[in-house]
């Protein structure tokens, strides 16, 4: 069993979230997932299944990634996600195996101990989640660039300190027992990560979807529903 590929799971004990041991039963446990939405002026960006390479849908409204043991390992070894190599043998790793670009020398028990120690507190988990968020952000434009044309210069580093104050975060528990940490990137930053000329050339892979169409999917996709409310419904002071 390759523990690196397993999702980090939590169980609730005495009203606290505790990291479950990898040998525990999966019933009533919760994995942690990062979801990233990219806002446009009047909607969100959708990404093609061929670009993201996960799932069977034609289009996706979010970048979604379950936090695995392997993610925790590479993010603990290489705290700055900008230093993690993007490519392995010339290929991009699958989205659910970003950790596979670095080999993990730890035994399963050692890796489990690492995750238990690092993911038990909110303060530590927040660091890993934010670094994972940065790693995903770093992958996306690179993959899009590789799909359309290599001539574009893409900024490969993500400075979290400069942008986190502008990104809305929200939390929920989905119907698949995932505790979700959601990020909504405002339209101004969306176009910094994915410049409009790149979006224009990559229109087969990325497209803006207006709110009216997003609402059609809001009932079946909780994250989308909560994200839409976060972005579009008014805030009163």
């Amino acid at each position: 069993m390759v523990l690196s590929a397993s999702l980090v799971r939590y169980r609730v004990e005495n009203a606290r979230f505790k990291v479950a041991h990898f040998t525990d039963s999966l019933s009533n446990t919760y994995s942690v997932r990062v979801e990233i939405f990219f806002a446009t002026q009047d909607g969100l960006l959708a990404f093609s299944g061929s670009l993201l390479g996960f799932g069977t849908n034609e289009w996706y409204f979010k970048l979604s990634h379950g936090l695995s043991y392997g993610d925790i390992y590479i993010l603990s070894e290489i705290p700055n996600p900008n230093d993690i190599p993007l490519m392995h043998n010339g290929d991009y790793p699958p989205w659910d195996a970003l950790w596979s670009v670095v080999s993990c020398p730890l035994s399963n028990e050692e890796l489990c101990n690492l995750v238990s120690a690092e993911c038990s507190s909110l303060a530590r988990l927040r660091i890993y989640i934010h670094n994972c968020f940065a790693l995903l952000l770093r992958h996306l434009p690179s993959r899009l660039r590789s799909c359309v044309d290599a001539k574009y210069y893409i900024q490969h580093t993500v400075n979290l300190h400069g942008i986190m104050n502008h990104i809305r975060e929200f939390f929920y528990v989905d119907r698949n027992n995932c505790a979700v940490w959601g990020f909504l990137i405002p339209s101004r930053l969306t176009y910094e990560f994915l410049p409009e000329y790149l979006l224009a050339d990559g229109s087969s892979y990325v497209k803006p979807v207006p709110l009216e169409q997003l609402l059609l999917f809001a009932e079946s996709d909780l994250g989308l529903n909560f994200c839409i409310a976060n972005k579009f419904l008014p805030v009163f002071f």
Binding site: A15, L125, R126, F171, V173, A218, A229, L233, F236, F237
Partner: protein, 216 residues
């Protein structure tokens, strides 16, 4: 029953909201809102109804929520209320300051008072403020506690309800004076692991439960 509703674009577009406020402004710097027959607009796709969802937690532990069986037998964790037109009396109603300091137009709008008329099944639960029996209205310490600050999600097959979740501290002992409302305080995830859940309650818990607060 006539309920408050907004054209969808008013709630979703800051410019449209600004125009709506200007068009509906009164001389007293308040806004005159529009109410519609609930049955007529329930399937409307262009009118969105604000919906208040009250959930209750014990005074000493906000991690738990009060859960009970509703009249249809489903497990529920709160009460949903439409905003109704001015009440005939204040009895069995609660009021809400919708907003003040209207951020989109940068000027103060005096509080508009909205009334939530309670269905009979909820009255006993809400008439529990022993400190002010003469009013027999639902009571909170500060009216600001009932101010909608932001909506949490859309609800309904037409996405025509904008739900605002309001958590309130409540005493289990007081609630249990009404046998029909007998329930218990439950951890949100324990509630979600149950069966036969009221769909709106389930969505509220999924959205409002802050799992990160249960980490150390």
């Amino acid at each position: 029953m006539r309920v408050l509703a907004f054209p969808r674009n008013v709630l979703l577009d800051p410019e449209a909201l600004k125009s709506y406020v200007i068009d509906h402004a009164t001389v007293y710097f308040s806004i005159k809102l529009e109410y519609y027959d609930h049955d007529e607009i329930e399937t409307s796709t262009w009118l969105v109804q604000p919906l208040l969802f009250l959930i209750f937690y014990p005074p000493d532990n906000s991690k738990y929520i009060y859960t009970f069986s509703s009249e249809d037998g489903k497990k529920s964790c709160g009460i949903s209320l439409h905003v109704s037109e001015s009440p005939r009396s204040t009895t069995n109603s609660i009021f809400l300051n919708y907003c003040y300091n209207y951020c989109y137009i940068g000027s103060n709008i005096y509080p508009s008072t909205f009334y939530f008329r309670l269905a009979k099944k909820w009255r006993k639960l809400m008439e529990l403020d022993k400190a002010s029996p003469a009013h027999q209205t639902f009571h909170v310490d500060r009216t600001a506690d009932l101010a909608i600050s932001n909506y949490f999600f859309f609800w309904g097959p037409y996405n025509n309800h904008a739900v605002y979740i309001l958590p309130l501290s409540f005493s289990e002992a007081i609630i249990n004076e009404e046998p029909a409302m007998l329930g218990k305080f439950t951890h949100p995830l324990e509630f979600l692991e149950g069966e036969n859940l009221d769909p709106l309650s389930e969505l509220v818990i999924r959205r409002v439960y802050s799992w990160i607060s249960d980490l150390s």
